[in-house]
Symmetry: C2
Subunit: 206 residues, 2 copies
């Protein structure tokens, strides 16, 4: 029911605009994380924007020097495949089954809407992020771990209260922050320690 | 009711994280524009993300060469002041009264949460964008005009149906696209011409 673009646009621009229109769907993919500012869950587009802002403001804590503009590009595109593959919440047992295959297929389908040169460029950015191959990718992934931790903290629990969340699964997320930033990883450790003390995170044996 | 950060974080990082938490509110600031992918209005965080994606994919159409990473940073921060100043919808008569003063005051208050060096840095980015002082700012502003035009098109009307929207007010928005990109301005002109033909935009004398 979306209106098709008018005729007479060049094929390259038309393909790019159809991709940009399809990308609107990222605003409808809900994550498990609660917003700090309202009583609802966050969507992937909002999340991606928040990561971009965090990269800009926290770049000084990266363990290796990063190109901020490049890191921002990585986080802007990192969740696009979830338009077709859906979000895979970490603390919901089984939710991540086949995630790699589903996201791989989604990348083929989604990036394939773009002109071939741009499909390859965006695919390369996505692969770089997923593999954590560069300092920018490792720092972007650290933000992708830190942001929901911060939202959980502000919420006084958030997804830490889901069935699959216990100290060890939360600590595994903390490790993703450490991998990009020792100092932000240490801050995240403080959040988790204090979250355990307050009963917002369950110890493993509980 | 948001949980304060735990004690024992350095003051600089604490200030940055409080800003990042406050920025969560951008996800609750509603724009007039309809989403293409769902039956609801867009919020400022989603909008800012969509502009970042458009900068990445459409940079080749900028009239002057742009640093894509820099342009992406500009659009990521460009609407933050609306957390306190609110959105000023263009087609709602009177909604933009005092907009400059309100946004100026909001910038002082919001960016003032950051450490002084970063407050100055983010303020400079915001000023650069607002003034359209650089090729990156002009292209970012072009995306800020083009994105709601595209959403209106996909919706078959959108904010073009609001009381204050007629051909001349819509053409004034088109001019903001032209200022950053002749070719995307020409595409926008096609959307407006065809929108008029289909009755999605009112002629001035109607
Ligand atoms: Ca993710």
């Amino acid at each position: 029911d979306r209106q098709p673009l008018p005729d007479g646009i060049g094929e390259r621009l038309a393909a790019q605009l159809r991709f940009i229109a399809e990308a609107d769907k990222l605003k409808t993919i809900l994550r498990a994380s609660p917003l700090a500012a309202a009583d609802r869950r966050e969507n992937d587009a909002e999340h991606s924007w928040h990561l971009a802002l965090m990269v800009i403001l926290l770049a000084e804590y990266a363990d290796e020097p990063i190109d901020v503009g490049h890191a921002v590009r990585l986080v802007v595109i990192h969740d696009l495949v979830e338009i077709y593959a859906g979000d895979s919440p970490v603390f919901v047992p089984g939710a991540a089954a086949d995630q790699v295959e589903r996201e791989e297929a989604a990348a083929e389908r989604l990036f394939g809407l773009l002109p071939a040169d741009q499909a390859a460029e965006i695919r390369a950015l996505w692969d770089e992020f997923e593999a954590g191959r560069t300092p920018e990718a490792r720092f972007g992934k650290a933000m992708d771990r830190l942001e929901p931790m911060l939202l959980n903290w502000l919420d006084g629990g958030g997804t830490w209260q889901l069935p699959g969340a216990t100290e060890s699964t939360v600590r595994a997320r903390e490790a993703g922050v450490v991998a990009g930033s020792t100092s932000l990883g240490s801050f995240t450790g403080q959040l988790v320690d204090e979250g355990l003390r307050r009963g917002w995170i369950r110890p493993d044996e509980a």
